[in-house]
């Protein structure tokens, strides 16, 4: 037994070494981070306990990880497989990444937080990330530290952050999270298709064609007549409706389905039946393909992070990982532009929370300060990545400058975001939003595709939500 497992281990580490070697030889230029630390890869991926402290960060994708690795000034070294980051003082940052879907991340995080007390110091969660859809669940618990009272950020540190980004993670005046981004949503459209359908690709003029839902529907019909789809899938416009509901989803143990949600259902059913969309679902491969060179879709509702994180990636013919640069000529880079669209909305947003029980409070404070409060770093992130960061002053500066996004064909989208960011209202967000949103989209997808009628979809929604949240007993539908 011992022999066997040891041999396996050697074999496995052999694989890692080969992989690292491949990275070193094959990396033409792009993957500098991976190639730079080949030598240390074996050591780094082994035992993080080897000396110094360990900072455990829990999240659901590599977005924050790449921000951290690229912009946190203390970063010294990144493991080849990115599972750990070593800081200059020898602290090892250990990344625990669990996918978000189907409440998976929340369930794993719950488990981790509930075991926080009994966990060894180096296994305790120090920082965890939360999304707008369930931020309240954690903010409204004893597992999350107050960023001012417990962690030590000052009002001056937080002064330039958008107010809504502070409100959503505050309970009774105690703020328990902070973010580096603001996430106003826009409508990103294909310039070439807009020209073909509307005769113009100018953002202001296109916006005038799309400024309310009736106009939007008209354009959808015109696009259809020319062989295009207005939207890619069922859920594309979901956020524009779900952000404009009149009250939170859940009141006590009752789910109140807002009238606006049924408007989304009706519109999407119409689009599906008339062929205005491509019957994809959010994040599926069809949806991703529709955003790329082979796509024939007019546009996508996207918020800030979606444009630099998702849309840009999908628009390329050769991914960055394959050594190609994101630039005009690679796929449809440069063919997108953004406008406000029919309704203001936001989508997503990631907050950094300090976990109660952490033994690295000073480090948490420094991470929060550098990555969410530091004006220079915030500005640099936006200039480098086109992400929209949470610093009003820096953003206004860029908005009024001659900044241009190459990806968006020379548009200064930061100016549009700066306008939209002021309109964000997150007062109707609640702790159950992620599970409810996923169940709602999944249940009504069957209605859109014609597998069930509307009433069955409603029933399935109820069943599915109750599997996730047994305490929610009733669903009330709008009359």
């Amino acid at each position: 037994m011992k022999k066997i497992s040891r041999r396996n281990f050697l074999l496995a580490s052999g694989v890692v070494t080969i992989g690292a070697a491949l990275t070193a030889c094959g990396g033409s230029s792009s993957t500098s981070t991976a190639a730079s630390s080949t030598a240390s890869s074996a050591a780094a991926s082994e035992a993080p306990a080897a000396g110094g402290k360990t900072l455990n960060i829990w999240c659901w994708n590599d977005e924050f990880q790449s921000r951290f690795n690229d912009y946190y000034p203390e970063v010294a070294e990144i493991a080849a497989d990115k599972s750990t980051t070593t800081l200059k003082d020898g602290t090892i940052v250990k990344w625990t990444i669990n996918p978000n879907d189907n409440n998976n991340y929340q369930n794993k995080l719950d488990e981790g937080l509930l075991n926080q007390e009994s966990a060894a110091d180096d296994d305790k969660i120090d920082i965890f990330l939360v999304e707008a859809d369930y931020a309240l669940k954690y903010v409204d618990s004893d597992y999350t530290l107050d960023v001012k009272a417990d962690i030590g950020l000052t009002d001056a540190d937080l002064a330039q952050q958008y107010q809504y980004t502070k409100d959503i993670v505050s309970v009774d005046g105690s703020q328990r999270g902070t973010t580096w981004q603001a996430t106003p949503g826009l409508f990103a459209y294909r310039r070439s298709i807009a020209k073909d359908v509307l005769g113009t690709d100018d953002p202001t003029e296109v916006q005038s064609y799309l400024s309310d839902w009736d106009k939007f529907n008209d354009v959808a019909a015109q696009a259809y007549a020319k062989g295009y789809k207005m939207l890619s899938g069922f859920d594309d416009s979901f956020r524009t409706f779900s952000n404009n509901i009149a009250a939170p989803w859940v009141d006590g143990t009752t789910i109140n389905v807002d009238e606006n949600m049924m408007k989304w259902v009706d519109q999407t059913k119409e689009y599906t039946d008339k062929g205005y969309n491509n019957k994809s679902s959010l994040w599926d491969s069809q949806w991703a393909a529709d955003q790329g060179p082979t796509g024939k879709v007019f546009g996508f509702f996207y918020s800030t992070w979606g444009i630099n994180f998702t849309l840009l990636g999908n628009s390329l013919a050769t991914p960055v990982a394959d050594g190609e640069k994101p630039q005009v000529g690679n796929g449809i880079y440069g063919d997108y532009a953004v406008c406000e669209g029919p309704q203001p909305y936001y989508w997503g947003g990631t907050w950094i929370c300090g976990a109660a029980g952490s033994d690295n409070i000073d480090l948490i404070r420094d991470v929060m300060q550098k990555l969410t409060c530091d004006e220079a770093i915030m500005k640099q992130i936006t200039l480098d990545t086109e992400d929209y960061t949470n610093n009003e002053k820096a953003m206004e500066e860029i908005a009024s400058s001659d900044y241009k996004s190459d990806f968006l064909g020379g548009q200064n989208h930061i100016a549009l975001f700066a306008e939209a960011a002021k309109k964000i209202d997150m007062s109707n967000a609640g702790p159950y939003d992620q599970g409810i949103t996923e169940s709602f989209q999944a249940a009504f997808k069957d209605y859109f595709t014609g597998n069930v009628d509307e009433d069955t979809a409603k029933e399935n929604f109820k069943t599915s939500v109750q599997e996730k949240y047994p305490e929610l007993t009733d669903v009330v539908w709008p009359a």
Partner: protein, 288 residues
């Protein structure tokens, strides 16, 4: 043994039947192999090539895809393979050794509850482990074994199907004289088992070791509930993660490569040992 067909027409009928059989067999083989062929082809093509359409010819990006999979910290394949190997190898070893031990215990000794013990094992043989998953999870959480390999490895000591196979094999191929002769020579019972019985059981051990290994290698339900941290996850969990974590689907080439990495090692080992394995299923295998 069979009579040779006598007339020409009989011969013609026979060869027509034979042709039909081959046709069906080829079709079925095609069905079995076709999907793997696409898998291999697509794992050598870039994301964009895959999106543009299907091709029967492999692309040139195998190394790139392989490199990209290994470099992706969200799906730590390296540690996934290592974890899967550790868990599967240990489970296979434990399950084979202890099943042989149990089978020998029931085969070679007479004791009061022997019949009852055998009956119980047969009764629980086909009981799915999922029915007690809830209690199992709570138990290991209380024991502090969550996110560890122990709850995935140790329970394989009680593997009724492996036991049954071993028992069948012993019934057929271990004469008690050998055991008695060993006793006369003064061998202890464990010595007899380890040094005389086990070597005789080698073929059965090997076949069952392979099957236990594969079963554990492919297991998803329990590991997914037990393992949490990225450096502990086994391959099937990573595959499931690939399905649900949509941000990983930027690159379908990578997705195919990842599936290939999960599937192909088993296939290669299988092809190397196939004669042995296929015979093995038939060997004790009426009750597989």
């Amino acid at each position: 043994m069979a009579h040779a067909p006598k007339t020409r027409s009989e011969k013609a009928v026979l060869s027509a039947r034979r042709a039909w059989c081959y046709l069906v067999l080829v079709l079925i083989s095609f069905l079995c192999l076709f999907f793997f062929y696409i898998l291999i082809v697509n794992s050598t093509r870039t994301h964009f090539e895959i999106q543009k359409g299907f091709s029967l010819l492999p692309g040139k990006s195998m190394l790139t895809n392989f490199k990209n999979v290994l470099a992706d910290a969200n799906i730590p394949v390296g540690s996934g393979i290592r974890n899967s190997l550790i868990v599967s190898a240990c489970s296979a070893a434990l399950s084979v050794y202890f099943s042989a031990l149990t089978a020998y215990g029931i085969y070679a000794y007479n004791f009061r509850f022997k019949k009852a013990a055998f009956a119980i094992i047969l009764l629980i043989m086909t009981m799915p482990t999922q029915v007690s998953a809830l209690g199992f999870l709570q138990l290991i959480t209380k024991m502090g074994l969550k996110n560890s390999f122990i709850p995935l490895i140790v329970p394989s000591i009680a593997a009724p199907t492996v036991f049954f196979f071993m028992k069948q094999y012993l019934d057929a191929s271990l004469p008690m004289e050998i055991v008695e002769a060993a006793r006369i020579d003064g061998a202890g019972e464990f010595y007899t088992f380890n040094h005389i019985v086990l070597p005789i059981m080698k073929p059965a051990l090997a076949v069952q070791a392979i099957f236990s290994f594969v079963a554990s290698w492919n297991n998803y339900f329990i590991p997914a509930l037990v393992l949490d941290s990225a450096d502990k996850k086994t391959l099937p969990i990573l595959i499931a993660q690939l399905r649900s974590a949509d941000f990983l689907k930027f690159d379908m080439g990578k997705v195919y490569m990842m599936v290939a990495i999960a599937i192909l090692p088993v296939i290669v080992v299988y092809l190397l040992l196939s004669k042995f394995i296929v015979r093995g299923i038939a060997l004790g295998g009426v009750k597989g």
